[in-house]
């Protein structure tokens, strides 16, 4: 750190070295006034004190340059003269400020702000000048052992290099002409020509010192890889230049060719133009679209034709045509339906005929279509149609009812869409016996065993050629009065058809009808006199009861000479009569069970058969048939029931007279009938 004294010493040294300052002094203005023989320009230093700011010490020294306005010109010192002095003083003062601002390696720094205060008419020497405060700021470390530097000389840099720095134009300007000449002599000389060349010496030339050499331009030729000249550019020598290679252009065409894409490509650059996907769609209002990448492949699925149940019936590759994608469907001729009739529910035994009232199992088999509805029907021999089944099932059972016997056909038609029907038929004949069928229908016989038994019976009787001899047949099958009443020969619900009329107490069951022996009987409405001839009559009763009682099992009694009745055993009396007079003759038919047939085939003989055996052959003259109807389970005693029996009746008939063979055949057929029904005795 410089002490105040050292600072003052540097200022004095500088002032002494300044060419224009004639004298330098220090003190107050009063001390200046008291100083004699003052030489001007005079630099006067006044200590203005200082300060300590943190780690800095500040010394304020007022520098005042006094210049004297020339005496003798007193009174004439116009502004021009005084200004001349002020200007000079200001310049000198600025020299000091500049010096200290430049620092010259000193430890202090100065504030570049200073107030230049001028004055005139100062001191008794009539001076003018400028004054400013030089503020020197030094680092101050508050070291109590501050040892001031010794010596008062300014470092050499101050008065040597600084004052004669020829790089400083102000120094040059201050040189005198003599000094300039000396410098030229010392440092000037003749310059030789310069050599100019490029880096590989392919170009070389010389130029005189102080001469001018225009270097030739470089010619830059830009070529592509095919040696085509793209551009030529002159570039001044030694200059750098940007040569712009023109962009390339990529154009992409399709095979038409239609320009698809134009894109610029920087020279030497790389571009990746993208060609959009192609679009594939169906017709003008597309319901389907897809895309395929450029040069890609789109594989179209096969077209399918489906039938209504979703099964694939046709596959076709897509092959476009001018009028559209077409494929030919063959008519669904393969769709078909077969129908079969079977005797069993498992559809294993096919049949082409069935007895009336029998159950037949029908089944259809569709091919190449899936029906949702089936209709089975039968066309009988007369062409009448009988509905069998309509529904979703492909099979059904059919109980042959209402159909006329004969050759007809079973039909089945089916549809899968409700509109289109496919069908087939099967020749089918309803067999059996029309008479049996009529009876079964009238009596409401639903039991197939009973139906079969009846049919077999009728067929057998017809086969034996005795069917036509019967006037009334009462099979007593069905188990109810309403079934038992019908006459197999004429199953109409009429008295004229010899339908039974029941009265009194009769118990009806599947085994037959059992009268109570008190008031139960049946009126056949068949009057022998009206129906049979005197010499030809037969009646039969199938008893399932073995009893010895005074009863008549069936018969008509007009008087003692005109009777037709059957009695197994009238309490030990063998009463008999077939269009004859009443008489106790022949055998008792005991036990009183089984089929008892009495037959007259001429005017002289009556025969009685029990269970197929000829029991009695009696010579009895025929008389006129009874004029009252025949009762079953009692005797029509001249119009009123009498002699009620308790024997369960399981069969009865009234017919013309039978031969032995006919009687045997009848017995055989009836017994087989009973056996079938499980009630034979």
């Amino acid at each position: 750190m410089l002490t105040l004294n050292q600072i003052h010493a540097q200022i004095v040294t500088l002032a002494n070295a300044h060419f224009q300052i004639a004298e330098v002094g220090m003190g107050t203005i009063a001390e200046l006034q008291g100083k004699p023989d003052r030489l001007y320009p005079l630099l006067w230093l006044s200590n203005e004190g200082g300060s300590l700011e943190d780690n800095y010490k500040v010394d304020n020294i007022r520098l005042t340059m006094f210049g004297r306005v020339i005496a003798g010109e007193e009174g004439q010192d116009d502004d021009a003269s005084e200004i001349e002095v002020l200007s000079d003083m200001q310049l000198i003062l600025l020299d000091f400020l500049n010096y200290f601002h430049q620092q010259h390696g000193q430890e202090y720094v100065t504030d570049k702000a200073a107030t230049l205060e001028h004055f005139t008419e100062r001191t008794n020497d009539r001076t003018a000048g400028y004054s400013c405060v030089l503020e020197l700021k030094q680092f101050y470390d508050w070291n109590k052992c501050q040892i001031p530097q010794s010596g008062a000389s300014i470092p050499p840099s101050v008065d040597g290099l600084t004052l004669y720095d020829f790089c400083d134009q102000s120094v040059i300007d201050r040189l005198t002409a003599t000094q300039v000449s000396c410098l030229e002599d010392e440092f000037g000389g003749v310059c030789v020509d310069a050599t100019v060349h490029n880096s590989d010496n392919s170009y070389s030339t010389t130029v005189a010192s102080g001469g001018d050499l225009p270097l030739p331009d470089n010619v830059i030729t830009l070529k592509d890889t095919a040696a085509n000249v793209l551009s030529t550019t002159n570039v001044p020598a030694t200059n750098a230049a940007d040569i712009e290679a023109p962009d390339g252009t990529v154009q992409i065409y399709n095979s038409v060719p239609t320009l698809l894409l134009t894109q610029g490509v920087a020279s030497g650059g790389t571009e990746s133009p993208t060609i959009g996907d192609s679009r594939v769609q169906n017709n003008a209002t597309p319901t389907w679209t897809d895309t395929v990448e450029a040069e890609g492949t789109l594989t179209l699925a096969q077209a399918k034709a489906l039938d209504s149940d979703g099964a694939t019936t046709l596959l076709a590759d897509y092959i476009p045509a001018a009028d559209g994608f077409m494929f030919t469907c063959t008519p669904g001729s393969s769709a078909s339906l077969s129908v079969g009739a079977y005797s069993d529910a498992g559809f294993t035994t096919p049949i082409t005929e069935g007895d009336a009232l029998a159950t037949v199992y029908l089944k259809s088999v569709p091919t190449d279509f899936t029906p949702t509805s089936y209709l089975f029907f039968y066309e009988d021999v007369n062409g009448d149609l009988w509905k069998i089944y309509h529904g979703a099932n492909d099979n059904t059972s059919w109980t042959i009812t209402n159909a006329v016997l004969g050759a007809g056909g079973v039909y089945c038609i089916a549809t899968e869409d409700g509109d289109n029907w496919i069908g087939n038929d099967l020749d089918f004949e309803v067999t059996g016996d029309v008479d049996a069928y009529a009876f079964i229908s009238a009596a409401g016989i639903t039991d197939t065993t009973q139906q079969s038994a009846i049919t077999t019976l009728v067929l057998q009787l017809k086969a034996d050629s005795i069917w036509s001899k019967f006037h009334a047949i009462y099979p007593v099958v069905g188990g109810t009065a309403s079934a038992h009443k019908y006459n197999l020969k004429d199953p109409r619900d009429l008295d004229a058809a010899f339908r039974l009329t029941f009265s009194g107490g009769i118990t009806h069951a599947s085994t037959g009808m059992t009268p109570n022996g008190s008031n139960g009987y049946a009126d056949t409405h068949l009057i022998p006199l009206s129906v049979v001839s005197a010499n030809s009559v037969s009646i039969a009763y199938y008893s399932r009861t073995n009893i010895n009682e005074s009863s008549v099992d069936m018969g008509s009694y007009a008087n003692t000479t005109n009777v037709t009745f059957l009695i197994y055993n009238y309490a030990g009396v063998a009463y008999k009569g077939l269009n004859s007079s009443q008489g106790n003759r022949g055998s008792l038919f005991t036990p009183t069970t089984g089929l008892l047939i009495g037959s007259r085939i001429n005017g002289t003989v009556e025969k009685y058969y029990q269970n197929g055996s000829l029991i009695d052959t009696l010579n009895v003259a025929a008389t006129a048939p009874s004029p009252v109807s025949i009762f079953l389970m009692a005797l029509d005693f001249n119009g009123s029931p009498a002699n009620y029996t308790t024997k369960e009746c399981a069969f009865s008939f009234i017919a013309d007279g039978f031969t032995d063979t006919e009687a045997a055949n009848a017995e055989s057929a009836i017994q087989a009938f009973q056996t079938t029904l499980g009630r034979n005795v």
Binding site: A481, F502, S503, G505, N519
Partner: protein
């Protein structure tokens, strides 16, 4: 058997007791009229259900 009065017998003459079979009142040896148990309990015609209240009586048939 179930005994009937004369009036009751007249009511049953010509009447079907189950839709198929006719009542058949019979007179016994004593001159009383009867119908059978089958008729009484087999009658399905509600109009004639009164016969169910008939008294059972021994029936002695005519010889």
């Amino acid at each position: 058997m179930y005994r009937l009065t004369i009036e009751q017998k007249e009511l049953l003459i010509g009447v079907l007791y189950d839709g198929v079979q006719f009542f058949n009142p019979v007179k016994d040896i004593n001159g009383d009229w009867f119908i059978s148990e089958v008729e009484v309990f087999g009658c399905t015609d509600t109009e004639y259900y009164w016969i169910r209240r008939l008294a059972w009586s021994e029936y002695v048939p005519n010889p």
